[in-house]
Symmetry: C2
Subunit: 416 residues, 2 copies
């Protein structure tokens, strides 16, 4: 007997027809002999509808009450799915986050799960029932309803799977898995059969939007076997694995990119201790997040200091920098908000050398100038002119042979 | 410091504008120095919308899951009102039935309240907060969400008022109080300043639809001062009182009526012990409720047996009766589904004689034939031909001088 946690997002439960389709899928898995826990989001559009009502009443509605309001969204879908399951002769019980004691801290709107009391769920599973749990929501120690923020239902599913020691946590989405890169840009992009948690985290933080980083972190921490699949077809999806052993390794798993950043440079800063802090301190004071940071050593006793920020913070950052530049007697502040970041990600980098040179050569061959470089153990990111984004991603996809199918395969097979 | 429980129904919270109006009303009462607990229904139409979704999935959806579904309706309105109160600088906390431990039995769809743990509410009130509670819902001892059935929000309000020993429980509706009779039939009908619980119960059970009987019973049992008022204007409404002492008594408080019944007669039944049971037993077996019952003593060793049932059960009852009539060797079964029941209600009947003769004379003066009579300590009901309903009600309203203002007045004044 295997225990499967399945999670369906808002588009998968967005209408009566789709709820019926989810019920069919759950019943198939149940009939195949699996113990089933299902985690649901609110119907697509419902959260925004409720938020609009709140904002009609208050420009800044209290977070506690917004959570009470939004939590109704999943409560509707869990009841409806349980009713659809009953129609199929399948005994099901729905539970809100509070009812299965998904205990969180009290940070309304972005609460973190502390623990789950799984006694009630286990009891239902023993009785052969399908358990349907509201995603995205929990309850703090005073009994207040909390919500987990964007992508919170994924986190609920992974947390349930961790608490129940499920054999697999299946996240159903509108894509059929994790791809080597965005197929809208590279038609040859290929679905990965498996990917490690670390790679998935890098891809998620770098702009791939399949899974929320928090749920992947959670899966990594509690070693939950996580699979991303499509609600709309029957492919095996992509398995997110926890071990590299037993796999034939490839250099690179995927290519991520984003055009959400802007670049700022303070030129001719006196090259003295404390300069980086003097500059980044005022930026942080303005609550501007900094991503990549580069400082070149200068020849004339001055240095150039470059970093990237969210594109929406570009103007504010420029203003702040011009003030501090004057104070520091720097030469000038320049900036560019038409940049793109491209990253190659792969655990293979750990054991293989030469990834960076393959990357830089591929870009040079297309005449693409690299403006900034940043690396981690399993990732290399470059900043280029925004207009080169698609060309650069395609060149790298081809240079690393990503269209040619993965050599490595995981040992776990699709089980629902 | 007085503690007021205010309850607003679905039409009173049916839109953002109306929720704002309720918030204004609550803030006024708060600023007047009252401790405030507010009980809300779902937005009008929402319960039916949710039920339609459930029935799209299942012709007979499981009651437990329907309760999970319907309970979202009030959860939305309590959050929205709390947000509207926050906009006015008024600290408010919303609670679902489960959160304030409105513990019920486990009869989903028509659960009964067993007790309320008021610790949390009292704590909030001490902190100066307005407490906003979801009506219509509770939680059973296993933590399952339950609902109380039609009119359940009134019951929640009265139960909260009883638990908190509130100074007054105010039920806001779309009428401005309890009338001597339906003003659509008698334009001279007058709002009552006060009425006793017993009278209110008789009026409610006889067809007056202002308050659900259960909430009035509850108010009677726990001696909760209950007031019915309009959400849309500022009148004092009608106070439902628990004592007759200190009041100048009037004979009659109001006239109720309904045309929801049908009359059936089994004629020429052998006048033997057990006949009533033989007839009513088979009717009860078919789950048909019987209201008035009359048996005439016959002269020729037979008797006529007449009773009324819900008009929707008329055909079924006729079929059942024809079978039993044959068995009992009764002469024939006749029936009439064009009848109306008119009742006069008043605690004054206890100490005053002659009410019945005033009633019968008034009807006779209009040439209205009385088909059946039934009495209780504070009520006289008659069945007449349906076409005489309006004429009869008007004649009685005038005969008892109900348009002339009440002599008795209560000692409690309107306090919000």
């Amino acid at each position: 007997m295997t225990l499967i946690v399945q999670k369906f997002g808002g588009t998968s439960v967005g209408s009566i027809e789709r709820i019926n389709a989810v019920a069919d899928r759950v019943v198939r898995a149940r009939l195949a002999g699996h113990d089933m826990v299902v985690v649901l989001s609110a119907m697509s559009g419902e959260t925004n509808r409720l938020l609009a009502l709140a904002h009609d009443l208050h420009s800044d509605p209290p977070a506690r009450e917004v959570d009470v309001l939004l939590a109704t969204g999943e409560q509707v879908t869990i009841a409806l799915l349980s009713i659809a399951l009953a129609q199929r002769g399948c005994d099901a019980r729905s539970y809100t986050g509070a009812q299965v004691h998904i205990r969180t801290d009290n940070v309304h709107g972005k609460a973190r799960i502390l623990d789950i009391d799984d006694a009630r769920v286990r009891d239902d599973l023993r009785k052969g029932r399908v358990v349907v749990v509201a995603g995205f929501q929990g309850v703090d120690e005073d009994g207040n309803i909390t919500t987990l923020g964007r992508g919170g239902s994924d986190t609920t599913a992974v947390a349930m799977a961790a608490a129940l020691k499920a054999d697999e946590c299946q996240i159903y989405t509108d894509v059929d898995g994790v791809y080597t890169t965005d197929p809208r840009i590279v038609p040859e992009a290929r679905r990965l059969e498996c990917i490690t948690v670390e790679e998935m985290l890098e891809l998620a933080s770098l702009g791939a939007k399949v899974l929320q980083s928090r749920s992947v972190e959670f899966a990594g921490k509690y070693k939950v076997p996580l699979r991303v699949l499509s609600s709309f077809d029957d492919g095996p999806g992509t398995l997110i694995t926890h071990e590299e052993s037993g796999m034939e390794q490839v250099l690179i798993s995927g290519i991520a990119f984003n055009r959400d950043e802007a670049k700022l440079t303070v030129k001719g800063v006196p090259d003295q201790p404390g300069v980086a802090y003097a500059i980044l301190g005022v930026v942080a004071d303005e609550h501007i997040n900094v991503d990549m940071i580069i400082q070149n050593v200068g020849a004339d006793g001055t240095t150039d200091f470059t970093f990237t920020v969210d594109r929406t913070d570009y103007r504010k950052a420029t203003t702040v920098l011009e003030q501090i530049a004057k104070k520091l007697r720097a030469r000038e502040v320049t900036g560019d908000d038409r940049i793109a970041k491209i990253s190659v990600v792969g655990v293979g980098m750990r054991s293989h050398t030469g990834v960076a040179s393959v990357m830089f050569k591929a870009l040079a061959d297309e005449g693409i100038n690299i403006q900034m470089i940043s690396t981690s153990e399993i990732k290399i990111s470059v900043v280029v002119e925004e207009k080169y984004l698609e060309l650069g991603v395609r060149a790298l996809h081809s240079a690393f042979g990503l269209e040619k199918g993965q050599v490595r395969t995981g040992s776990v097979t699709h089980s629902a």
